[in-house]
Amino acid sequence: MATTTAPTKSSGLPFTIKIEPRLEVPGWLSPAVSLGAIVVALLLGAVVLIAVGGDPVASYLHIAEAAFGDIGVFSDTLVMATPLIFVGLACSLAFRMKLWNIGAEGQFYMGALGASAVVLSGLVGEETPKPLVLGLMLIAGVIGGALWGFIPGWLKAKLNVNEIITTLMLNYIAIALANYFVFGVWSEGGFQMSRTFPKSAWLPRLLDYAKEVPLFRGLTTHFGLVLAVVAAVIVWYILYRSRWGYEIRLIGDNPRAAEYAGINIVRNSVLVLMTSGALAGLAGMSEIAGVVHRLQTSISPGYGFTGIIIAWLAKLNPIAVILVSVLFGGLILAGREIQPSGVPRLIQGIILFMLIASDVLMRYRIRIERR
């Protein structure tokens, strides 16, 4: 079937369009196509902006400035990108095995809840050393997220329950559970938030070192970014350099071949969903300990769902997840700065659309032939 050609239609046009499968995919093609898609998306966005009477050049410059203009806003962009990297990794890992974890949002909340519990349950006191507190919070965040990945994984393994539905439903349970603690157990004087964490539970931020490096004054970029980048490298190593990652990729590409190679698909489903949940849980932990410093409602503006988009834009490549997250962090930030705020979101949407559409060019070559 490799030679199938599909002439679209024998219309009256003086040429025919032929779509042929690519037999060879050169290495430069993927980045080139992605870049091309972004350029086309920006051009399309410009058309829309002109149509509503805006100036596209000015708008784009404004967005770029609001997100990457100076070190201050860039730091804010990185703060925004940190949880996105974690959830993007969570989704990339699961999607690699064709496990559709759309529960990163819930796993994020469970991670935040777990990390908060360490501080608010009185497990650690005011004098407990910072590394110990943060280490415990990290572990609790991982456990919270992993638990929320284990449940759908176990249900899938034992009862063959579709993980899309369970992970989606568990989002609402996790949010409601977190709210229960925020409104009830840990409520600070009846407000919808817990008390502020002691400083020992704060991830170090750049501004903490402003005394030594004046440039860092006011920069809120926190240690979570380092954790996120390390996590990306680890996930990359798992996927491309470990036996387990090989199994994940093999199952993802052809489960029947994996079974034939003696790989236990059921066990791997549970493990991958747990790891994916743990990564999303880390996002929650890092957000709580790095930015919010307390448990409260709406700690996530939908990070978990944005993670799905990021994973796809990064083509499930952990290193690309970092870049895409920074871009998206910038666009989210610009959305707050720019009026109307819909413009950056519009551009987000068009970029996503174009990138997904451009995938066809990776598999097929389109030729236009004269009659």
């Binding site: 350099r241 470990s242 036996r243 029947r256 003696g262």
Partner: protein, 526 residues
């Protein structure tokens, strides 16, 4: 009334010999395979015409060309006296030609009537289906196809679903109905019903092409038979009344030049594989293996002959740990491995060349490197602790690529980009480089060109000399003759023959159930 009937009878007699379809010099090529090589085919009005041949003989391809699915590279098609060229199945149906495939194209959640109307321009606007229900019931009645039009398709048995497919074609007014192995999915009683329907249709002047590889059925159902072998016609329009099952078997299996393979006489060693009364179900939960017992010794090739779908795949899966058996023992090197994992079989030194090389044997979007390490990535030097040594993996892949002459730009090339022969070589490279004690080779040369076939066969013989026990399943009898020390014949999940001598007609009969039926007849006569 009688006058009308007489007139109708006369017309019937007049059209009796008229051609419904004439195909001339059809050539259809797939990458690496010549599926149809200058094939002629004639179909008369009102006849049931069987198209007989082994799997891969080109039956379905020929009929797909008639049904508008493929466009042949050369040749002409004449339908009811007019030259025709079809761009789509819709085109073919417009010319009165419809094909029913082995896999039905029905929507389970919709009713019979809805399924029949699907894709048509009626009802045009209002979904008043009750009128249509009545019409479907009447149409079914006429051809002895009892079916409740309001039933949802998922509630129907396979036989009933097939009736819906036939009704679909009748409703579209087809005059030529092609059925691709219609009995393969049916229970014996259902087969009788189908045959009655087909006869009723033929007597109403419809022409039917009945694709099959079962000799008994062909003799029972068809008026005439055309036999294909390796893309060529070996018998055209032979009246079934003038032929016999042994003759058809010979035409179908044929004889061709056997490669002069240098198979050394060899004393088989100890028993490597022993099956004792193994029973297993297929994917649908029906018995696929019925009390299979066999032994394979080291340095011995045991051939398994049989038409596809008679339990060969299930047999391989039971041995390689991919399928559970319902009873019996599978002893590999003396240890029972029945109902253990695929991993256990791999660890026991069992290699498996699967029948389906794209869906089971390889991961299409992963590289050649990733594909050849599928069985060995757990061991040193590829594995070191948790991590996988990709330098060693690439080195292994490069060595195998040279050794087995896998043609590809590099070891990073995705498996899906390899041709059939190269992919098969990659799979063989993986399985044989493990130095198996027991090799299960399923259809290892299917779809390969002549040169590639010989290469694969030599590799298998080399394994035999190296002392591996080999279970080889093939639909090419010449291949089995050339390679095997003994041949087992499988039919409907049983081993119906165990032969040392190579008697083509005998095996052909056993493969198609001819032998079994003769035995039954003899018993009855006694």
């Amino acid at each position: 009334m009688t006058e009308v009937q007489n007139a109708a009878n006369e017309m019937q007699a007049a059209v009796e010999m008229r051609a419904a379809v004439e195909m001339r010099g059809i050539v259809k090529r797939f990458p690496g395979v010549l599926a149809n090589d200058q094939v002629d085919f004639d179909l008369r009005v009102g006849e049931i015409h069987a198209l007989l041949g082994e799997n891969g003989a080109g039956k379905s391809t020929l009929m797909s060309a008639l049904a508008g699915l493929y466009k042949p590279e050369a040749g002409s098609i004449t339908v009811f006296g007019k030259a025709a060229s079809f761009n789509s199945p819709r085109d073919a149906i417009a010319h009165g030609i419809g094909m029913i495939h082995q896999h039905f194209t029905l929507i389970p959640s919709q009713t019979v009537t809805e399924n029949i109307l699907l894709g048509l321009d009626e009802p045009r606007f209002f979904m008043r289906l009750s009128d249509y229900d009545k019409r479907m019931a009447e149409l079914g009645e006429r051809f002895g196809l009892k079916i409740a039009p309001q039933t949802k398709v998922w509630q129907l048995s396979v036989g009933e679903q097939q009736r819906v497919e036939i009704l679909k074609m009748l409703y579209r007014g087809v005059r030529v109905l092609i059925m691709d192995e219609p009995t393969a999915v049916l229970a014996p009683q259902e087969i009788e019903g189908l045959i009655k329907t087909l006869r009723a249709m033929a007597s109403e002047g419809k022409s039917i092409v009945f694709i099959s590889h079962k000799l008994n059925e062909v003799m029972h159902v068809a008026d005439r038979v055309t036999v294909l072998r390796q893309g060529k016609v070996t018998a055209a329009g032979l009246p079934t009344a003038e032929t016999s099952i042994p003759e058809l078997a010979k035409l179908m299996v044929g004889r061709s030049v056997i490669f002069s393979l240098d198979k050394k006489p060899q004393q088989p060693g100890e028993v490597m594989l022993e099956l004792k009364d193994v029973c297993a179900d297929n994917d649908k939960g029906l018995p696929a293996l019925k009390n299979i017992s066999l032994t394979v010794r080291a340095g011995e090739v045991i051939g398994v002959a049989g038409v596809a779908g008679n339990g060969q795949r299930e047999l391989a899966e039971v041995i390689t740990g991919l399928r559970h058996c319902t009873s019996g023992q599978v002893l590999v090197n003396g240890e029972d491995v029945a109902n253990q994992s695929a991993l256990a079989a791999i660890r026991k030194g069992v290699s498996h060349v699967p029948e389906d090389r794209t869906h089971v044997g390889s991961a299409p979007n992963l590289s050649i490197t990733d594909n050849v390490i599928m069985k060995s990535y757990r061991q040193s030097p590829l594995a070191s602790g948790w991590s996988l040594n990709y330098v060693a993996a690439r080195k292994k892949a490069e060595t195998l690529k040279d050794e087995y002459s896998i043609l590809a730009p590099s070891v990073d090339t995705q498996a899906r980009l390899l041709s059939g022969g190269n992919l098969q070589r990659a799979i063989l490279a993986r399985e044989l480089s493990a130095k198996p004690k027991l090799l299960i080779a399923m259809q290892p040369t299917r779809g390969l060109d002549v040169g590639a076939i010989e290469g694969v066969q030599r590799l298998l013989l080399a394994q035999r000399e190296a002392g591996a026990a080999i279970l080889l399943s093939s639909e090419e009898l010449e291949e089995l003759f050339a390679l095997s020390d003994r041949i087992l014949v499988m039919y409907e999940g049983e081993i119906v023959g165990d032969l040392v001598e190579h008697d083509l007609v005998q095996i052909g009969l056993m493969m198609t159930g001819g032998k079994k039926n003769e035995e039954r007849k003899e018993k009855r006569e006694e």
